[in-house]
């Protein structure tokens, strides 16, 4: 595929021609914004719950400079893009997935997310993220611009980072390096099944408590006599500089995690991931201000007695209780549907703009970079998605344009090329 960087200078007559020949006439990768751009008209969904209609937004030097309904002091040399009738959103943030770490689920050689051993806080997805993955473009096509590449497996899987879904290499795709360490909490629900299982869970718990305490002691030494990568990797977690993502589903597990981690190491920034039974603990979660990352709205209830729509309603129940919630979809290729998870939450009671916030501003807050991304607020990165209609509803969710740091990027890729190729073969209209 040919890549061109002369995008804005091409005349419109040539554009059509080029469009047929090569899919990518916008930069495939992120470059610095060359020209200030106004998006004019349209409905701006800020990401913080607000909606501004018939406004204009100015992007300059990769940042949002202006968002206003009054359009008088137009700056010179700016490009004006008419977005009337369209919906404008902040770039969507997909938390907790393995895009870029996994290519084909069933092929071991393409899997890069699970290191050997129980305690691996030191391994980092930051350097394993494959920007040439075939999966990433399918997410970008739907408006997902940020992805948190999360390691899996073991008791402590490693350290995640936040990336753009487009980039030349991991280094330039990095948005936030080592945003947190991921801990898989022992599954207490199976503990009563059989003695040996109880023992396994008990052993896991003991090993976890011991690891945390040893790591903590190590990190408090002014000058350790030895080096230890695993313990060292926990330093930023203990000081609260990075998050500790605790992957835990049951209420029992969450209570246990609070008792064993939050109580002992109060400076740790604890985030529960999964948290299917969080609705049973709303006051506790609110008390300790624990944010929750839901890993699927589209899932079956766990128990046969649960209401059929419990997972659809869960995010709303938590939000209404004053708990900070992000919506995610675990997996790799599946993650491109994250906005529809948010949409289903709306069908079952959530406010639309709040649902949008669960995949934009809330994740940014959890990551601690809400000052940079997550909403269409002035001063933030101009990473913006334009949709033909409501982005949360597949019936109308068609992304026409994506800007990363003020630059329009190409969102079509192999799947669109194959569509085109075979439609042409069968002489079908496009």
């Amino acid at each position: 595929m040919k890549i061109t960087t002369v995008k804005m200078k091409i005349k419109s007559s040539n554009r059509l021609y080029l469009c047929l020949l090569i899919l990518a006439y916008f930069p495939l990768f992120i470059t610095a914004q060359e020209q200030p751009t106004y998006l004019v008209g349209g409905t701006f969904h800020i990401g913080n719950g607000e909606v501004v209609s018939d406004a204009h937004l100015l992007m300059m030097d990769g940042k949002i400079i202006e968002l206003s309904t009054r359009f008088d002091n137009q700056i010179k040399n700016a490009k004006i893009v008419d977005v009337t009738g369209k919906h404008i959103y902040p770039g969507i943030i997909a938390l907790n997935n393995i895009m870029g770490l996994n290519e084909i689920d069933a092929v071991r050689a393409t899997r890069d997310y699970n290191e050997v051993g129980a305690f691996n806080p030191n391994v980092r997805t930051a350097i394993a993220y494959n920007t040439d993955s075939k999966i990433l473009p399918t997410a970008l096509f739907n408006g997902i611009v940020f992805t948190q590449a999360v390691p899996q497996g073991g008791q402590i899987s490693g350290s995640s980072s936040l990336f753009y879904t487009k980039g030349w290499n991991w280094e330039d795709a990095l948005v936030l390096e080592d945003d947190g360490v991921h801990l898989n909490y022992p599954d207490l629900t199976t503990a009563n099944d059989a003695l040996d299982q109880a023992n396994t869970v008990q052993k896991q718990l003991e090993a976890l408590v011991l690891f945390l305490e040893e790591a903590y002691q190590f990190c408090t030494l002014p000058k350790p006599q030895v080096f230890n990568l695993r313990f060292e990797a926990m330093r930023k977690v203990f000081t609260g500089k990075t998050n500790l993502y605790v992957h835990v589903g049951t209420a029992k597990g969450m209570l246990s995690a609070l008792a064993l981690i939050k109580d002992k190491y109060p400076t740790i920034k604890l985030i529960f991931v999964g948290a299917e039974e969080a609705y049973q603990l709303t006051s506790t979660l609110r008390l300790y201000k624990i944010p929750v990352v839901l890993t699927a709205i589209h899932r079956l209830p766990i128990y046969s007695h649960e209401p059929y729509d419990l997972s659809y309603q869960l995010a709303t129940m938590l939000l209404d209780s004053g708990i900070q919630v992000a919506i995610a979809q675990a997996g790799s290729w599946e993650s491109r549907n994250i906005m529809f998870h948010a949409g289903t939450a709306v069908a079952f009671g959530m406010d639309k703009e709040k649902a949008l916030s669960c995949i934009t501003l809330q994740p940014a807050k959890i990551l601690g970079i809400a000052n940079r991304i997550g909403s269409l607020e002035i001063g933030k990165e101009a990473t913006i998605v334009i949709s033909e209609g409501d982005i949360l509803d597949m019936k109308s969710s068609k992304i026409s344009t994506v800007y990363i740091k003020g630059e329009q990027v190409e969102i079509n890729d192999v799947q669109q090329a194959l569509n085109k190729k075979y439609r042409q073969k069968f002489k079908l209209k496009e």
Partner: protein, 983 residues
Amino acid sequence: MRYCFLILFYFWANAIFAQPTFPLNGPSNQKPEHFALAHATVWTNSEQMIQDALLLIENGKLIYVGAYKNIPADYTLVDLSGKVVYPSFIDLFSDYGVQWEPKKAYRNTHGFYSAKRGAFHWNEAIRAEEKAAAYFNPDEKQKAGYLTAGFGITLSAIQDGICRGSAVLVSTVSSSAQEAILKEEATMNWSFNKGSSTVDYPNSAMGSVALIRQTFYDTKWIKTQQESNISLTSLAKNQDLPVLFDAENKWAVLRAHKIANELNAKNWIIKGYGDEYQRSKELAEMRLPMVIPVNFPKPYDVEDPFDANRVSLADLMHWEQAPGNLASVNAAKIPFSITMKGCEDGHAFLKNIRLAVQQGLPETAALKALTETPAKLIGASAFCGSIREGMSAHLIVCDKPIFEKDAKVLAHWNGGVYMPVNFETDFPVTGLFELQSELPYQQIQITQQGAKLTGSLIGNDTLELSVSREAGTYQLSLIPDKKAALHCTMRLAFVKQNNVLQASGIATWQSGKTVSVLLKQVAVSNLKESPKQDSIQKLVSQIRFPFVEYGYTKIPEPEEVIFKGATVWTNTKSGIIGKQDVHIKAGKIIAIGAELSSATAKTIDAKGLHLTNGIIDEHSHLAIYKGVNECSQAITAEVRIGDVIQPEDINIYRQLAGGVIGAQLLHGSCNPVGGQSALVKLRWGKSAEEMKIKGADGFIKFALGENVKQSGGGPGLRYPQTRMGVEQIYIDAFNRALQYESELKQHPTTTRKDLELESLLEIIRKKRFISCHSYVQSEINMLLHVANQFGFRVNTFTHILEGYKVADKMKAHGVAASTFADWWAYKFEVMDAIPYNGAILNDMGIVTAINSDDAEMGRRLNQEAAKMIKYGNLSEEAAWKMVTLNPAKILHIDHLTGSIEIGKDADLVLWNNNPLSIYAKPLYTFVDGICYFSLASDLKSRAEVQQERNRIVQKMIALKQQGVKTQKQISIQDENYHCEDEN
């Protein structure tokens, strides 16, 4: 006198080795064999009782049964005053004395054929040649439980495998195998469980059904053949014996009955699980007798609310209702006998039987089920099951009527053999005793709590004593206590002397000093009230259909409804029309138009709402019991999903809540030819058979690619391992089917009926239709060629993610497509899958559906259809048809459902929004005019579920706090199967 009776029994019990064929070692030891059992209350059968009876037994035979009369001189008198005599109980489901162990030599390395050498069945799970009699030897340990419970006779079988061979009827009283066997081969025993067989086939419940059916057909066929097959000839020889079928739950019972029906067999007896009350209507309609256990669950430990969460309502309700099962079975007039199977021991059995009686099982019915019925079922009424002149004496002696609390079986009588069970003193040793000894204490008090005896030593102070019994004597020991420096153990024998109970023996002191002790009873104490362990109230919860959460207490009926003013998605030429009324009645759509009215109809205000035909899922693995894949062979065309529908899968309800009304339940995709599908409507609460769409065409699953060539792992031994092999499997199979057809024509009576080839032949003859799991274009093209070669049409390619590459060829062949909206990247063969596939196929004029393959996605197929708009620019109408009319066409049921037209089934969903919008949710789901789901009724059900759970949980917690034993319970959740699942 009573005492003498017991002693007598004790000694006689030792004299039972008198076998004529055995050589004598020393002088003979003959005993008198004429007995007069006098003064007992005798139940000669479940209805007739003789008080102050006399039974004369001569050489093991009853020669007189009647009122007391003068006893002939040469009879030994056994005084049974105050005792109650019943015919021996008969347990038809037992492994008593069967010393079966799967032979180690049979360990299989390849798993394709039996490792058992010789002219036996190819599948080791068919062990028809085995005789339990050949493995039988009385087992003293097992014996105690049966004797305590009153079972003097058991039908003992090898409880392992699908065909378990013949079962032997034995007396549990005899200690010699020769004497114990009453009938060498009484039944042929079967189950759905392959047990210890190391042959891969079957690995699913549906495979078991197929193997059973084929084996019965083979039994007929083997008679016409020269070929020897010891397993089959054993079956043929024993074909007149009753079949005793071990079914693991109520649906398995119906499954077994279906096989019996197909074979036109009348002599089947089915052993159930104890959950028959949940479907007593259907079970009564079978008109087959059953063997039913009384294995009532202990209450669950649900004190921790997190633990309570893990117990399903079905398990909670079953705990509460299981004791009422037999009453319900009896009321439904299902003929039944009772087995001890599943009870901890004989005491637990008797306790549970009494519980069943408390719950409304008449005592006479219980007695009949323990005696006459089992005897009759296995054709043994001539010598057991009742007490009649001329019969062998198989009877039990009880201290009081057996259904009364704490009644005990004192002795068994089996012909000439007696076996005492409880040879403890039959007077209570409780009471206050005067202590005569050198001990500084004057009295001993012995009290009983439940079955446990405790005592206290009374003097200036009172010390606790533990009481235990051994060989008829009692040991009283001071319970070690820091305060009491005293250690003392007494060993005593209780004897009634001149009507005063006394105990004599010795006491050993701490110092080692031994003194003699005599106790004399001065007061008889009453038993302490034992805690109310049995106090389960009468049935309080109602039966639910299905017996799970969100089940109905009454199965709903078709309603007459007019939906007023809806936007109607007709799926016809009329398209989507606003402000329409739709009138349904008796399960059908009877009118569509403006301003419809009817005096008898209920109206639903549908202004601003959308009315559509319900969603039909072409590719579902919902509601399947024990295995979606029969993976063991490349071709398993003989297995049928229709045999293993699990109508209580909670996911059925969840699909209804998502607007789904019907589905094709498909076999998985692990072999080139999988099993036959079941086409169902989601009739929640109805039985497996009722869920099936009547008159629907037969479908079958084929599969191509990575799954069938076992790319995911495994030993790689099964053919095929390449796409090349897949083609050859098909060509060979269809040729064999044609060959079978011509052999049948030439030799209709001697050709072996082959279920697999019959199914394949149906495909060629256009009576069965293929739904083929497929991904890449090469293999799609291949199957089209195979179909052309054999002159049939492939009905459907399902998944078909690269269909867009060969859409022209598919169009030319006339095959339909059923695909995912946007699944990809989960394995190598789906890397070229694109979300535009469905739209391209549709635009080519191929009938295209969007399917789920997953219970989660299945309940929001409307969203998946909407993705066709996002990715393929389809019109809303075209997108909507992809989950309604198109799948109906693909499944050949579009004459019944799939669109809103007069005369079609009222399979309707009323949505709160455009159904393709993510914001849409069903308000009502009707199937056949029956409202199986509505938001309002769902809210009501939630509250009920909550309430009912809480009520039973509280009851269990209360029992636990009273000291009743509880058990941990984690309920099994319904499986969510996918194609890919190994089984």
